[in-house]
Amino acid sequence: MTDLSLPVASRTGTLPEAGASVADFAALLKPRVMSLVVFTGFVGLYLAPGHLHPVLAAVAVLCIAVGAGASGAINMWYDRDIDALMRRTADRPLPAGRMAPGDALGFGCFLAGTSVVLMGLAINCVAAALLAFTIAFYVFVYTAWLKRRTPQNIVIGGAAGALPPVVGWTAVTGDVSLAPLALFALIFFWTPPHFWALALYKTGDYAKAGVPMLPVVAGPRETKKQMLLYTLLLWPCALAPYFLGLAGAIYGGAALGLSLLFTGFAVAVWRDQGDTAARGMFAFSILYLFLLFALLVIDRAALGLA
C-alpha cells in the first residue's frame, strides 16, 4: 500500500538527482490557469475608470500573474500526494519526483510575498490586500480545507479565481464598486459548469484520488442538472456589465448569443449518455469566458473611438 504521508520523492524513490529544471519551476506556476487569470485581471484594470501609468499597469498585471503562479505552486506542494494518483497530474514536477517538495513550497511562498509587497509599494494597499486575500483564499480555503472535504469545493473555491478582475480594477481606483463585482459574479458562476464538465470525463481519476467532486459524490445525472442550473444563473451575470453601463450593445448582443450557446452545451451534456458532450462543453467554457472578457475590451475601445 502506498503511504501517502511520506514525501512523494521518498515514496517513489526517485529523488531529483539532477535537480529540477527551469521548466519544472515554470510548470509549478500553472501557466495555462495563469493566462486566464492575467487576462481577466487586465480586463478589470482596463475597464476601471481613471488613469494608471502604463508601466504601473504592467506592474499590476505582473503582480496578479505572479500571485496566481504562487498560489499554483503552493497548491502543487500541498496536493502532491493526490496529484501522484491522477493521470492528468501525475507528471507534474513533484509527483514525478523531479523536484523536492520544500523547493516548491519555498518558491511559492517567496513569489506570493514578493507579488503582494510589490503591489503594495508600486500600486496601492487595497489592491495588495485583495491580492493577498486571493492567494490565501486559494491556498487555505480551497486547497487545504474544501478540496478534499466537500463536492462544493470548486463552487466556494471559485471565488479565488473570480477575484483577479476585482484586483485589476482596484489597482486603478483604490476601491471596490458594483461593476467589478459583476465581473467577479461572471467568473464565479462560470466556474462550476466549467470544472464539472472536466470532472464528468475525469471521474475515475478524482475517485481514485479521493477528491469528492460532484460527479464522484452525487453521480453524473445530478452533476448535469447542476451544470444546467449554473449556466442559467450565468445569464444575468453575463448581461450585468451591459445593464451596469460597463459595456455597450456589441457586448450585450454577444453575451446573449454566447450564453445561449453555453446553455445549449449544458442541454447537450444533460442528454448525452457518454462524455463527448462534456468534453465539448469544457472546451467551449474556456472560449466563452475568454470571448466575453475580450468583448468587454473591444466594446470599450469601440465606445472610446465613437
Binding site: E17, A18, G19, A20, S21, F25, H53, V55, L56, L121
Partner: protein, 48 residues
C-alpha cells in the same frame, strides 16, 4: 570505461547543466526585478 561510469557521468553533466540554467534564470530574474524597481521609481518620481 564501464557502463556505470558513463551513466554516472551523464547524471553529473545533467546536474551541472540544470544548475547553470537555474543560475542564469535567477540572474535574469534579478536583473529584471532591478530594472522594474528602477522603472517604478522613475514613474513614481514623475520622471516620465
Amino acid at each position: 570505461m564501464s557502463v556505470a561510469a558513463v551513466s554516472g557521468g551523464g547524471t553529473v553533466d545533467e546536474r551541472r547543466r540544470r544548475q547553470r540554467a537555474r543560475n542564469w534564470a535567477i540572474f535574469a530574474l534579478l536583473m529584471g526585478f532591478v530594472a522594474l524597481i528602477y522603472l517604478i521609481t522613475l514613474v513614481k518620481l514623475g520622471g516620465f
